[in-house]
Amino acid sequence: MISTPKELDPVLIDGVRTPFLRSNGAFTRLSTYQLGSKAIAGLLNKTGIDPKLIDHVVMGCVIASPKTPNVAREAALVAGIPNTVPAHTVTLACISANVAATSLADRIRLGQMDVAIAGGTENLSDPPIQVSQNVRFAMVKAQKAKGLADYIKILRELSLKDIIPDIPAVAEFSTGESMGQGCERLLRQAQVTREETDQYAVRSHQLAAKAWEEGNYNEAVTPVEVPPKFAAVVKDDGPRGDSTMDKLAKLRPAFDKVFGVSTAGNSSFLTDGASAILLMSRKGAQELGFKPKAILKDYVYAGGDPLDELLTGPALTIPKLLDKNGLKISDISVWEIHEAFSAQMVAMIKLLKSEKFCRERLKRDGALGEIPLEKMNVWGGSLSLGHPFGATGGRLLETAARRLEREGGRYAVVAGCAAGGHGSAILLENPH
């Protein structure tokens, strides 16, 4: 347990996100920094905080545009944050925004700052596709070329296949395997069936659609006007309320195309969107007259084998977080866990209640137990709402804090898996 003065507790005040849209939709032509700025501007507007009071901005981003490597800075400036406020970008795949939040929480706890913005932004419609390596080398040489002869010499070194561009793959660099393949490994280990997988996916879509219907996201989502027509996007376009087992059963496996379980219907999809949350010290919130929704009490990160444990992260971090804080599953009233794949979620639940996994891998005395579904991702999750890599953590934290506030429970856990075999788990506590 961390013991620091109570007034230095980092607290979450509020959060805002843009609608999350399937890639190649309405946000296609908005750049990553523009989306990020919309989330920050929306947060400033919603909370009414004077931007001069912000001490630092940290945003997560995974597929950075080469033009805006520090996208947090550009997003913050455009959102109206004064240029005297530093901003930087962090990257840890799908838990980048979690890192943004916890690193700022640490600095608040150390008394270094009182007010900060964490978040993330991602536009996966416009990946930075490069020309091939040979063409890049040729272009560098061409800058020094003198006269036609030099140019001809450079051109001669190129072959026809060099015109094929270099497209960034959503694949693990160390293993060359995609996330989907990693998921197949995990679901085999936990013996997850296609039926269980589809069932969980249907649940996610139906819950997300219901949450929108009930207006749960209205206060968290800021409309985004998209030039040139300037039509306002107000809702996520991912949730499919009409999702059924029958429909999902018809889809062919996407990764192991013959015997696989994961399909396009039960996996999260490429998404564009951004999120931002306002963090303060408890003391700062009191002085400025803001009401905290949750305390960022503790957190855990873990790494695993990038080949066999690519998506096992939450199963590694959740037990560690709970054990460290002397908590049991039953103590947690709100769970918000990133849904990369439906099968990964089912596998995670199975692993946490497996004696074998918990004893052998986690060196625990026994299984952790079963996370109750009725407390987990009840407003939908990444499978249905969408998953803009760098921004998802911001959505999870905001939703968890608001559910905690609304349901009146004591603790919430926010967890996620990330490329590289990483996992994150954050413990929130209701301050009231």
Binding site: Q34, S37, A41, V78, A79, P223, E225, F230, A232
Partner: protein, 715 residues
């Protein structure tokens, strides 16, 4: 004592740096004192053998020289006196231009009029790449021409066409453009301006640097370097000027003439002619009126209620229509945060889109980056609820012109506002006191009457009631000024000032149309009088229903003075759906495909003819102009008499910048002073008799002025 000097000399090795820094003012201007100091310093530079070159630079943070001191001109008694002043300035600059020691102008900030003429006389010009750095010759806006060599040096430097464009429009030239057109030699960063200028001066003196002259393109050579080409060029330019000004403004024609005469002759001959015409122009009533407006506008830049206690950071705008969107746009562009709210989100977003469109135009012109555009856009939040309104220090409503709706909005919104928030109603006629009746806090309520389109129209008419608090007035004026508006303040009353004086004017137009005056004829005559748009087109633009609505309301309150036209005609027109441009049909037909003059709407013609009551004889052109113009002027005098206007300056500025009253007349009061109140009163009485109508009855104050011979603007 050195402290009172405008010019400061500093010798850095072999270069003399002359710094302009007028201790008496925030901006440097050209005055007689400057001239004498100039002489002294350049005598000294000429004598000093160690000095090989010099630099002219300003000590002010954001201006080089903002132009000549207009008061000197204003006080001059005759054309000859002004001509002499111009000759003196020319001789000074000639000395600068012909000195064997090269002079570098180091320009940072505004460089206007005489300031640019000084720079033009230098041998090398460096300007900083800074948003505040602009170069222009705006004399034409004051009915003058550049009288210190500008008309001769500028065309010789940048070519005739580019020079005419600058001098006829007075437009701002920014450094990059200035470099491209050859107006300056180099663009520098502000931090290094002085050092770079000194280095340039030194290199010029030892011939290591030369001012590179721009190479004219072939077309330009043919048009400008041959007598035939120039003939074509000037005749085209003259045609365009006549088309735009209808020959009502002498300055643009004089500029054309001076350039045309001067270019084929020697510089000295050209300069002599420039001074002569400058002296003449300065004595024209047009120039005097424009200068009057300039001083009026300048005086209105100060907040007459002092600084407000709260500095507004965020405003709320209700209504995403044309007005709401326009108010949002000008506010966000000047750094204010805006919440724009409408019943439907789509409507609010549509209002915000106006800002996007305004900014996008500038992005396309490459004067704004898309980054800056997005930053400004993020200042605005479009929404369908009152979230965040508790943080607004001012809310401006721009909903429908209907007292019931305004009341509903106030009642609905007030609980969401902080107790000290100011509420402004953007209405063109509804009395603010009536609107305030729905409020719990009438002391916080004022009127802010914007003109459409808000982005283009410079005027803001602020309406205060006897209940409005000092803070409410101060906040409204402060925000208006920050929005870049020329702000007049008037007392509450039906139609306030601008709509009220427009009412009898439009009423007379209705009478004239019913007497059988054609739509084109009417528009044409008023344009010849100096209005930018004729009344028929104006009504089509505003919307006939809107005009009728306001007219009917004012008629109820002001009575016979504004209701001589037949109201039944309007009812019929509106029933037919002829509402003006917005419905495609009004007096004219609006078809995007039709270029040039819009055709008359035959349906409208028919209605008018049915109700036509031709007079004994068709009114003459002059009569049309006077019947309309004088009714407006007369109503303005009534407004002053009743205290709606605090002073005649507000009245002049309001009529010119809000309604397009002919600027060369300087506003209704300036007009009365020029043509004589006595003559106006007589003319009105004559009309009154002839038409047997009280609508022409002169205001009592006008009769007083006519009798006493006093002026509204005593000299």
């Amino acid at each position: 004592m050195n402290n009172n000097k405008i010019l400061h000399l500093e010798i850095i090795k072999d270069v003399a740096v002359v710094t302009f820094d007028d201790p008496a003012s925030k901006v440097n201007t050209i005055s007689p004192q400057l001239s004498s100091e100039f002489q002294e310093i350049f005598d000294e530079i000429a004598k000093n053998n160690t000095v090989k070159a010099s630099v002219l630079i300003s000590g002010k943070p954001d201006n080089f020289i903002a132009g000549a001191d207009i008061n000197t001109l204003k006080n001059a008694k005759s054309a000859e006196e002004v001509e002499r002043l111009s000759r003196e300035a020319q001789r000074l600059l000639d000395r600068l231009a012909t000195t064997p020691k090269p002079v570098v102008a180091a320009i940072h900030g505004t460089c206007l009029g005489g300031g640019l003429e000084i720079a033009l006389a230098c041998h090398y010009r460096i300007a900083t790449d800074h948003p505040k750095t602009v170069l222009a010759l705006p004399e034409v806006m004051l009915g003058l021409l550049p009288g210190a060599g500008g008309t001769q040096r500028l065309p010789r430097l940048v070519g005739i066409q580019a020079a005419l464009d600058m001098m006829l429009t007075g437009k701002n030239i920014y450094p990059r453009k200035a470099k491209k057109m050859g107006l300056i030699d180099h663009v520098a960063i502000p931090q290094g301006l002085k050092e770079i200028a000194i280095e340039a001066a030194r290199r010029l003196s030892n011939k290591a640097l030369r001012s590179k002259r721009r190479k004219p393109k072939l077309v330009e050579k043919v048009l400008e370097k041959t007598a035939v080409g120039r003939k074509i060029l000037f005749s085209q330019a003259r045609k365009m000027v006549m088309q735009k000004s209808l020959g009502l403004y002498p300055a643009p024609l004089a500029i054309l003439d001076v350039v045309q005469q001067g270019i084929p002759r020697s510089l000295e001959q050209g300069l002599a002619y420039e001074s002569k015409r400058f002296g003449e122009l300065a004595q024209t009533p047009e120039s005097k009126s424009l200068i009057h407006l300039f001083f009026g506008q300048t005086s209105l830049k100060k907040n007459r209620f002092g600084d407000p206690k709260t500095k507004v950071r965020k405003i709320g705008v209700l209504g995403g229509g044309l007005m709401g969107g326009g108010i949002t746009s000008v506010s966000a562009q000047k750094g204010l945060q805006v919440l724009i709210k409408d019943i439907k989100l789509e409507a609010a977003v549509k209002g915000k889109k106006q800002l996007f469109d305004d900014l996008q135009k500038r992005v396309k012109q490459r004067v704004l980056s898309s980054f800056e555009r997005d930053k400004i856009l993020n200042r605005v939040n479009a929404q369908a609820d009152y979230r965040g309104f508790e943080n607004c220090q001012l809310v401006i409503e721009a909903v429908l012109e209907d007292i019931a709706i305004k009341h509903k909005v106030i009642k609905e919104m007030e609980p969401h506002l902080s107790e000290n928030a100011i509420f402004a109603s953007n209405t063109s006629a509804l009395p603010i006191k009536e609107i305030a009746k729905a409020s719990q806090r009438p002391q916080n309520i004022v009127g802010m009457h914007y003109f459409s389109p808000v982005q283009k129209m410079p005027l803001l008419e602020i309406v205060v009631t006897d209940q409005s608090s000092q803070e409410a007035k101060a906040v409204a004026v402060d925000v208006g000024l920050r929005q870049g508006k020329t702000v007049i303040v008037v007392k509450d009353g039906p139609g306030f000032y601008t709509s009220r004086i427009l009412a009898p004017y439009m009423d007379e137009a209705a009478v004239l149309v019913q007497e059988g005056v054609g739509f084109y004829e009417l528009d044409e005559q008023l344009k010849k009088f100096g209005y930018p748009v004729g009344p028929v087109t104006l009504l089509d633009e505003v919307g006939i229903d809107v005009g009728a609505h306001v007219g009917e309301f004012l008629g109820r309150v002001l009575g016979k003075r504004v209701t001589s036209g037949d109201p039944k005609v309007f009812e019929e027109i509106i029933a037919k759906g002829y509402l003006g441009r917005k419905t495609g049909k009004g007096f004219f037909m609006y078809d995007k495909k039709v270029r040039g003059r819009k055709p008359i709407n035959p349906g409208m013609q028919e209605i008018i003819q049915k109700h036509c009551k031709p007079g004994a004889q068709a009114p003459s052109a002059e009569e049309i102009q006077l019947r309309m113009g004088l009714r407006m002027v007369n109503e303005a005098v009534l407004c002053l008499q009743e205290g709606v206007l605090e002073n005649p300056v507000d009245g002049d500025i309001g009529a010119v910048f809000g309604l397009g009253f002919p600027p060369f007349h300087g506003g209704p009061f300036r007009y009365l002073d020029t043509v004589d109140a006595d003559w106006v009163a007589l003319t009105l009485e004559r009309f009154s008799e002839r038409y047997g109508s009280e609508r022409f009855r002169p205001a009592p104050l006008l009769l007083d002025m006519a009798k006493s011979g006093k002026k509204f603007h005593p000299v």
